[in-house]
Amino acid sequence: MAGVNAHDPERQETVSRRTVLLGGGVSLLFGGVAARLYQLQIADHQKYLDLAQENQFNRRVLTPLRGEIVDRFGGPLASNRKNFRVLLVPEQARDVDAILDKINKITPVSEDKRARVMREIRRRGAFTPVQIADNLSWEDFSKLNFELPHLSGVLPDVGETRDYPYGADAAFVVGYVGAVTERDLSAQESDEDRVLLRQPGFKVGREGLERTYEDELRGEAGVMNVKINAHGRVIEEMVDSAVPPSQGRTLTLTIDSELQAHAMKVLAEPTPGVDQDTQSAAAVVMDVITGDILVLASTPAFNPNDFNVGIDPDLWRDLNASPYKPLLNKPLSGVYPPGSTFKVISAVAAQRAGVKPNHSVHCSGRVWYGNRYFHCWKRGGHGHVDMKNSLKHSCDVFYYDIAKTLEIDLLADTARKFGLGQTYELGIPGQQRGVVPDRDWKREYFAGNPAQQPWFQGETLSCIIGQGYVTSTPLQLAVMSARVATGKAVRPRLVRAVGDLVLPAPEAPLIDVDQDYLAVVRAGMNAVTNEYGTAARSRLEDPDWQMAGKTGTSQVYAITAEDRAHGLAKPEDLPWARRDHALFVSYMPFENPRYACAVVVEHGIGGARAAGPKARDIMKVVAEKDPASRTPLDPRTLARASGVREG
C-alpha cells in the first residue's frame, strides 16, 4: 500500500522539518537585510545624508576670453572688459516674476527685457542659467549681493564682455559680436562647441573681422567640476582638477588706430560753404610698398558697443533708415563712378594704344561725336592740351578725342591691371567688385536685350572719363594710386598676424605695362597739386612730403535746361542725393612714394572742393607720423594672458 497511497508520515515529517528550517534560514537572511538597513539608515545615516546633500557633481564649462584685435602697434581695437551681471536659474527661482520685480528695484529690468528673459527660459529649460541683467555698476552689483539671501535662484557673476575702445571710429574695421542664434548652434560641428555657445551671455562674431576670424578669436573652453548641493547651489569648485580655458588668438592688424581716428574726424568735417549735418564719406590710406591698410574710414558709422549688449530696436531702425547708410562699409562696399580719377588709367591706356605723351588736342569745351555733343567740365575749353596737362587740368575733351578710336577692351584691361573690378582678401565680408566694362561684360549684362549687346564707341567716350558703366570702390581707388606710384601690382592687406603667426606681405610684381608710360601720369598728378592744377589748394607744403593727386567729380544727375529755367544755378541748390560725388586719389612723397590715399565724399559736389582737402588733412598727419618708419608690434611678444582690461 505504501507504494500506492500517497500518505507517507515520514515524508510529511521531513518536509515539515525542512520547511521550518527554511523559514529559519529565510528569517536569518531577512535579519541580514535588516542589519544592512540599520547600518545604512541609522549607523551611517549622517554620512549618506551629507552625500545626498553635497555629492552631486556638476561639470561647469569655463568660458574662454575672446582674442583681442590690435592695431599695428599693439593698441587694442577690440578687447574684453569685466561685466558684472546677474544670472537666474529658473528651476530654483520658482516665481521668476517676483524675483524680477525685486531685481528691478536694484537695477532696471525693462518690460522688453522681461519678455526676452521669459522667452529664453521657455527655450532653454528650467535648469540652464539665463542672463537677466548685465553691465551693472559696482554699487548695484554690491547691493544685489547684499540682497542675495532673499533672491533664490539668482547668481551674481562676473563675466567678460567685448569692448571696442575706438567705438564708431573702428567699427568697419573690426565689426562686432552678437548673441548666439539657433542658426549658430546648428552650424557648430562638435557638442563641446554647442555647450560653449549655450553659456549665458556668450557672443559670437557677427560682422567684419569678428565674424571672419571667429574660429581664431573664440579660444578653447575649459572645464571644472563643481559640487552642487541638493538645492543646486555650488558649494565647492574642484579647482585642482579643472582644465583652464585658453584665450582666443590675437589678431594684429595693419591699421594705425591714431590715424584711423584722425581720418574719421576729418571725414566728418563739413565742406565749407555747404550746409549739411552729416558727411557721408570714405577714406583709405595704404602703404604702397607692403599693401598695409593704415586707415579704413567710413562715415557716418555705428558704435559696435551698442551691438555688443543687444542693440536697441529704435537705434537699429534709425541706422537702417538713414540716407547716409551708417551700416554700409563704404570703402569696401560703396561703389561710385570714379570720374576723372579714372584718367590716370585712361592716360596709360592711351599710350598703350600708341598715343605719345606730347600728343596735343585742342579743347574748345565740347566735341561732336555720333549724334551729340560731349562737354568738357570747363565750358570755355582748355585750348591746346597735352597728356600731362590733360591730367593737371582734368580736360575731358583730350580724352574724348582719344576715345574716338580707343578699343574699350584695352581700356578695361588697363583698369584691371591697376586694381579695379576685383575684390581683395581682407577678411571683411561684403566687398563689392564694381564694374570695369568691356565687350564681354556688355554682352552678358544685356543678355535679355540683343540690340544693346554690341559696344558703341560713344560709350567709350563716357567710360574714359570714369563715367558711364564704370564703377569702383574707394579701396580700389587707393590700390590704383599705389600701383601708379610704384608701378607694382600692390595688393592691400588688413591682417598682419594671427596669434604669433606673422603673415607675409603679399607679392607685388611689376605691372605688365611699359613702366615708361607711368612717368607722364605721375608728372600730371604732381602738377594737379603742386603746379597749380585742379587741386592746388590741397598741396602739402613740406618739401619732403610732396603729394601727387588727381581729382574726380562723378555725375549723379545731369542738370537740365529745365532746371536752369527754374533758377537752379549752383550744384548746392540740388537736393543732397542728386549732387555729384567728390573723389580724390593721391600718393606721397612724389619722389619716393610710400603712402597712397583715396577719399570719396558722397554727393560732395566737387573733388577739388570736398575730397582733396580731406585727403590733404589726412595725409598731412600721415606724413607727420610716418607710421611705416616705426617698428610695428612683434606679435611673438604678445603676452598670452593679456586677459581682461580694467575699466
Binding site: D8, V26, V33, L40, Q41, Y48, A52, Q56
Partner: protein, 381 residues
Amino acid sequence: MAIILPGRRRGVRDKLSRLHWPLIILLTMIAGAGVVTLYSVAEGNWEPWAIKHGLRYLAALGILAGVAMVPIRYWMALAYPTYFAALFALALVPFIGEVNMGARRWIEFGGLQFQPSEAMKIGLVLGLARYYHSLRAEQVSHILYLIPPALMVGAPVGLIFIQPDLGTALLLAATGAIMIFVAGLSWRIGFLGILGGVAAGYAAYRFDILKEYQLRRITTFLDPERDPLGQGYHLLQSKTGIGSGGLTGKGFMEGTQAQLKFLPEMQTDFIFTVFGEEFGFVGAIGLLLVYLAVIFVGLSIAMQSKLHFARMMAVGVVATFTLYVLINTGMVMGLAPVVGVPLPLVSYGGTVMLTIMAGFGLVMSAHVHRDQDMYRSGDSL
C-alpha cells in the same frame, strides 16, 4: 458549515470562504506600497506607473482567485505538461526568439510577446513538486532518483544561461535546490552538491571554459549600463538614497535622490531605494516584515497541506518569491551584485506581477484544497 469529508468536492462559495484572506491582505499591502512609491517616483502623478500598477494588481488578484478555485488535482495533472511546454518554449528561443538588448529571451506567440523563462518559474515548481509527490521518503536521497530532478533543473537553467540571462538562471537553480532540500535530500549529498557547484563555477571561470564573448555577455548582464563606472555610481547613489532616509525617512515625495533623478530605474529595480529614502528605516523594516509575513503564511500553508504535491509546490513558490525579495533588497544596498531583479509586487512590470500572483494562486489552491490527498500516481483517493 457542514462537516466536509476529505476528498469531497466543494462548491465555489465554499472555496471562496476557504481562501486565506490574511494572505490576500498582506499581498495587497505590498502592492499598495508599490502604488504609493510609483506615484512618488512620477513626481506626484498617477501616470505613467502608479495607476497601471494598481489596476494590474487587481487583475492579477482575479487570476490568483481563479487559480485557487481550480481543483488541485487539475494542477497536479497539468504539472508535467506545464513544465515540458515551458521547456519546449525555452528550447525554441534560440531559433525563433526576439533579440532585445543583446539577449534572446522573448518569443512571439499568437501576436503576444511571451517570455518562456518566466513561465518556467511556475513550470519548474510544478514539475519538481509533481516529481517528489511520486517518491517515497527513502528514495529522495537515492542517487538514481536524484538524476531526474537534476535534469529537470539543469535543462532550463542551461537554456536560460545561454540566452544569456544569468540572474533568472541562478534564481531557477536556487529555487530547484531549495525544493530538493525541502523534499528531504540528505545533508551529506546536499553539502557535496553545494561543493560541486562552487567548484564547477570556479573552474568555468578559472579555466576559460566560457568563451570571451560569453564572459562579455555575462558582464553585460551584470552591468546593464555597460559602463564600468556606471554600476558603482548607481550603487553609491542607491546607498546614499537609502542611508539619507534615516530612521523615519524624508517623507512622501521628499526624497532628493529620487526626485532629483540621481537614481536609475527608479520605477523597477531601484524602487526599494526610493521607498527607503522616503519612509526611512521604520518604513523599510515594516515592508520587510510584511514580506516575511507572506513567506511565513506560505510556508505554513505548505505544512498544513495533506497533499505532498501541494506542500512542495507551495514551498517552491515561496522560495522563488523569497529569492526575489532578498536579491533585490540586497542588490540596492550593495549586498548582492546588480542583476536586474525586481522587488515583487512593488516594482513596475506586468510579467513578474503575473508570475508572482499566479504562483500565489497555486499556494492559495493548496490552502483551499488542504484536506485533499491523492495517490502517488496522481489519482484521487
